[in-house]
Amino acid sequence: MTATFTIHFEMAETDVAWWAETADVERLSVAAPTLMGLRRLIDEAVTSHLGRDTEVVLILSSDGEDTGTAAERTPDAVPPPRGADLTNAFLTTLAAA
């Protein structure tokens, strides 16, 4: 079995939060201040609800603030000989004093 989670990033006034949603586990809501913390909570929740053999798929939502870090490709763009394909990114500056 596979449990697929969509991961979201939310910005509050002084902090940020990661949270995840899934259609594969009923009434499961997971949130944490760091992405690694969220991944640990998801693993624990999946093990608890669905068993250790469940495969976990994590998909980062792209609903965060766009800061222009995503690579833009046009039909005429030549694939770079080196580099990466950044499919999702959201980077936010907080609390500039």
């Binding site: 994590l58 800061t67 499919t87 980077l91 936010t92």
Partner: protein, 148 residues
């Protein structure tokens, strides 16, 4: 996974999967008066192993001032999709450009960006905010100055 490169620069952007850096290697920011905007970007290349490509990762950058105060926090996530140009088992370089030009600088002295990937600390990036050199004073070369 690690930060392969992190450079303070005048400007950075990601285009076609590559990191474009303008005037990189800034380690002095000269300001006549404070507070003032930082007017810099942070260009980062993250090296991700093939086994870690499929899961989301978190990049953090905290700007810490001379008295240890937190001036800005950058939090973000990235996830890498399959690429038609990489070999099986090959990792990737993820380019990230952090626009920090509007971050406020409060004090003269040494500042540092505290970087981390998935809660693992990476080497700091340090720079000094200072008064502009006096007119006629030798300025040397290659010291990564940002004059305005």
């Amino acid at each position: 996974m690690r930060i392969a490169t992190a450079i303070l620069c005048d400007f950075a952007e990601v285009r076609d999967g590559l990191l474009f850096v303008l005037a990189g290697g800034v380690n002095r920011v000269f300001r006549q008066t404070l507070p003032a905007p930082l007017s810099c970007c942070l260009a980062v290349l993250v090296e991700v192993d093939a086994a870690q490509l499929a899961v989301p990762h978190e990049l953090r950058a905290d700007l810490v001032g001379p008295q240890g105060q937190n001036l800005a926090q950058v939090r973000g996530g990235f996830q890498v999709g399959p690429s038609p140009i990489t070999d099986p088992g090959e990792g990737m370089l993820i380019p990230v450009a952090l626009d920090l030009r509007n971050v406020g600088i409060q004090d003269f002295g040494w500042h540092r960006f505290v970087l981390s990937l998935d809660d693992e600390a990476e080497p700091d990036i340090r720079f000094k905010v200072a008064l502009p050199p006096q007119a006629g004073q030798p300025q040397g070369t290659g010291s990564g100055r940002r004059p305005n």
